[in-house]
């Protein structure tokens, strides 16, 4: 087993009715509930909008990141799975795809010999 990070991008809610948003939330609840019950879920958080970006040797601070909604990271989850393939398969159940969002699946490197 290894740990994997899901990085969520996009998933725009523009133009959705309150009812449609509730439906979307329930799908997230169901998906997270499955991950949790199967023991895959280790944790995660939503991220606020905006923030700051520090770059370069001069450590320049800019507001942001701002960009197209589809490129912005909205949150992350840490899951445990048997392989990258297994983690990817689990990610395919995420409701974010209905709203044209994406999930980046990355293995967390461990200190192994």
């Amino acid at each position: 087993m290894a740990n994997y990070l899901y990085i969520f991008r996009g998933g725009d809610m523009a133009g959705l009715s309150p009812q449609q948003m509730e439906e979307n939330m329930k799908k997230w609840g169901a998906w997270m509930g499955q991950l949790s019950q199967a023991g895959n879920l280790k944790g995660g958080d939503p991220l606020g909008e905006g923030g700051r970006v520090v770059t370069g040797k001069k450590k320049t601070v800019t507001d942001g990141p701002f960009g197209e909604t589809k490129d912005l990271v909205g949150g992350y989850l840490l899951v445990t799975a048997a392989s990258l393939d297994a983690a990817t398969e689990l990610a395919r159940g995420c409701p974010i795809f209905e709203r044209e969002g994406s999930v980046e699946v990355r293995e967390v490197r461990e200190m192994r010999m």
Binding site: P18, Q19, M32
Partner: protein, 428 residues
Amino acid sequence: MTTPEPTTTTSDVENLFRREAGRMSAVVVRLLGLGHLDLAEDIVHDALVQALEVWKFRGVPANPAAWLMAAAKNRAIDVIRRERTARRFAPEVADLLSTEWSLVPTVASAFEDKEIVDAELRLMFELCDGRLAEDTQVMVVLKYLCGFGVRELAQAFLSGEEAIEKRLVRARATLQAAGGLADLGDASRARARAPAVCRALYLMFSEGYHGSDPRAVVREELCAEALRLAALMADHPVTAVGEVKALFALMCLLAARLPARCDAGGDLIPLDEQDRSRWDAALNARGLTALAEATAGETVSEMHLEAAIAAQHAMAPSVEATDWPAIVTLYDRLAVMRPSPVVALNRAVAVGFARGPAAGLAAIDAIESLGRLDDYLFLAATRADLLRRSGHRAEALPHYLRARELARNDPERRFFDRRLEECGAPRK
């Protein structure tokens, strides 16, 4: 990093977003004024998005409605701060919102529970504006007070989403001229608008109750929302006039029958065949009480008469034990106030029960301007029923066939198929 709550249940948040969107929107519109309905929509949408983003990771909080209200309040403060030099908000609060020291307390007090009801009622009175067509009034009430989005409106009005968007744009332009929301303290103005509000709520309820759309979920929500808004009016000292109480009574008495109105397969069961033990006794009792209160005044409106008719059914243990002569008399009075072939047809149904099917058929034939009902499903269905009940099954057949042609959805078609079979038509 938080571990998401695996135990979170989402079952108790049914329609929470929609319901709270309506309440948030009423408060925000009251602050911003009718001129900024678009901005109000944005604030509500942002609050819901914020909830969605956090709750999908963390689960639904213990008091989700309060959470949403707090999110909307904070968002409203931010937006007002950003926009206040460019826009002029509701006249009543514009000055308070324009300076930093009174901004936050003004917005906060508008979000208090008691004020939310006040805002809902005031907005309801503004939205039922005579310059808007009646079904447009229903549309904007559903949009700004009940949290219906374009998708749900399209379902409710059997229309495309684009057409709904266009009608909303036009309606907003019309409403914009009104500025702020009238104060409920101005009782004479509120009462003058009450009939229009009653008509809109009645239309909303009827569309849910008799609607032509088989998608039952939306339909029952229309009834539930109309009932909720009518209850708000019936409970408020300024708006609780006789007609409003009668309307509320009527809705309670009709809604009480909903549990008995469909069989397990979703097919309609007519009033005379319903299992009355399945009627909602609490709603019936509320309706009868409200009707008694409504009739304490001197005026008798159409709503009073319709509620009184529904009350006759509510009090009767069976079709046979129903006081049909009393119902005929009530329809006679209603026909004077609202001369319409539809009322006359309903009266004919009552006559059919009070004096027998032949008298009912004669009452139909006596309806003036009966021609206007040629394509009316219930005319064919009523004739057919009266003929069937008087033993003239063969004569009933063509009328049932006509009713089946006019049926608007599958449950109705199945209903008439069964009747056709009972009357000897070959099984399909």
